[in-house]
Symmetry: C2
Subunit: 290 residues, 2 copies
């Protein structure tokens, strides 16, 4: 794709930092400007030549930009967009990386001025580690990205946003915001909530002779609880922003868990075997899919 | 340690097969005899030279053995011990590999004849894959093994069982049966039950345009749900045998989950951040421990 003249990355953490790195490597931006709360990260990014300029405030960050990528935690974004809106130049393309789309997209669209084009995106990249220090110019390679246009999205803007994420290596799917939030509430947010709860349950259990009972766990528990290392503010924002889908998924989970619990309580071997066989099958589908 | 004259492995799956392989490699058994339901596996083990003989029935499997290792699913063990008991020769050492200890140890002790020495063990080895085909002579290397003597265990028998598991490469801890079942109810059985339930929840959810919503998951879900591939019969037996501990842990988990659920419902950002920070800390403890 043709390079952008001036790209503004708002929030230079794992995703923003990785995007800056890959855009630099591929020559997708003549000039890259970074804005964020963590000034040390921004200075480091500048010293490494990943961004050209550290913006002193959000207004100068977005002034003259022809691409703005919003990479701040989901619930910080609206406030930032409110502040930047009057300073965005007409024709500017705006996208984001938020894990929750419906409320975010609605808020941003309401705030963004006429003649500026916003198209929401959710690159499915990054693990439990966060921050600029773990960013990488290969983070997006081969991973999926969901782009969420609305009825009012300009087709040319949609095309350019899809092209951007594809150019940095992602497999792009187009999806409605509501469907996005339902699906990711299920496959990402629900598992995170459960594992956070599991980790806190295990952390609070003590046995007669052993304070740290998790020292007896096998490799399995280490794998399962990796996502319990997720960044607290990011996950707080996701939980609140995608509340309805997460509560719905938790209710569905609760029904399944209650059934297993009864099976155990009543020593119903047949039910337990069936449930575990069914889990085996779903697991095989999942491996086939990933 | 001095080699045993005649070792009988009852159940030649992942654990039994791995034990036969490593005992053969280390020359710990002058003669190895295998017994199990899966005759094809047993013939294969014999053709590979891992066992010397396939026992046609449980009586001939244990006759003349000076070490018997019980490797069948937890709830199949008692029945087998009942059948083999009259045929075990005095002085024989018996151990097992069951993931649940209190009921199993109690049942075995009640069935085993005078002059035969039983000491329970739980080698923490093996993942979601089961069966002889994935057995390996390095399975036990560096992993933990919990040995669970009772008040009546002969000290010399305990010493020999500890030596056996250490010789095949394990780090042995001694633990009371009740404490064992509590700890493994928490760090192993609870996570399995939750992940089985999560997998079945996700497997049953469909979105408007996508039947297989798990195809959108990142690598995280693949890691988390690995244990949903656990062998159904083995896990049915574990759930029923360790019912009390598992139900207790499920109740503790439910309290933690309910708290998170309320935090989400009430959009209580402070509570959510605290809970996630606490999960981050417990996770760090766990990584330090594994």
């Amino acid at each position: 794709m043709n390079p952008f003249d001036r790209v503004s990355i708002v929030g230079v953490g794992l995703l923003g930092g990785s995007l800056a790195k890959v855009m630099r490597r591929l020559g997708l931006a003549k000039s890259l400007i970074g804005y964020g709360r963590n000034k040390a990260n921004l200075e480091e990014a500048k010293n490494l030549g990943i961004i050209d300029q550290v913006a002193p405030d959000i207004q100068s960050a977005v002034k003259d930009a022809d691409l703005i990528v919003l990479c701040s935690p989901v619930r910080a974004v609206s406030q930032l967009v409110m502040k930047m809106a009057p300073h965005i130049k007409p024709g500017c393309l705006v996208t984001d990386v938020g894990s929750v789309k419906e409320p975010l997209v609605r808020e941003i669209i309401a705030l963004i001025p006429e003649g500026v084009f916003f198209v929401g995106a959710h690159p499915i990249a990054g693990g439990e580690k966060s921050g600029f220090r773990v960013s990488s110019d290969t983070l997006f390679e081969g991973a999926r990205c969901i782009v969420t246009p609305t009825d009012k999205t300009e087709q040319s803007a949609l095309k350019r946003v899809v092209e951007l994420w594809e150019t940095v290596g992602m497999r792009v799917s187009i999806m409605d915001v509501k469907e996005h939030d339902f699906i990711f509430g299920a496959v990402s947010h629900l598992p995170h909530v459960l594992i956070f709860a599991l980790m806190n349950t295990l952390g609070s259990l003590k046995s007669e002779n052993h304070d740290e009972i998790t020292s007896f766990s096998g490799a399995g528990l280490k794998d399962i609880t990796r996502i319990a290392g997720g960044e607290p503010v990011m996950w707080r924002d996701i939980c609140i922003s995608n509340k309805d889908s997460i509560l719905h998924c938790l209710d569905r989970f609760q029904v399944t868990l209650n059934q297993l619990r009864s099976g155990i309580e009543q020593e119903n071997g047949e039910l337990l075997t069936q449930e575990f066989e069914s889990a085996n099958e779903h697991r095989l589908n999942l491996i086939g899919n990933v």
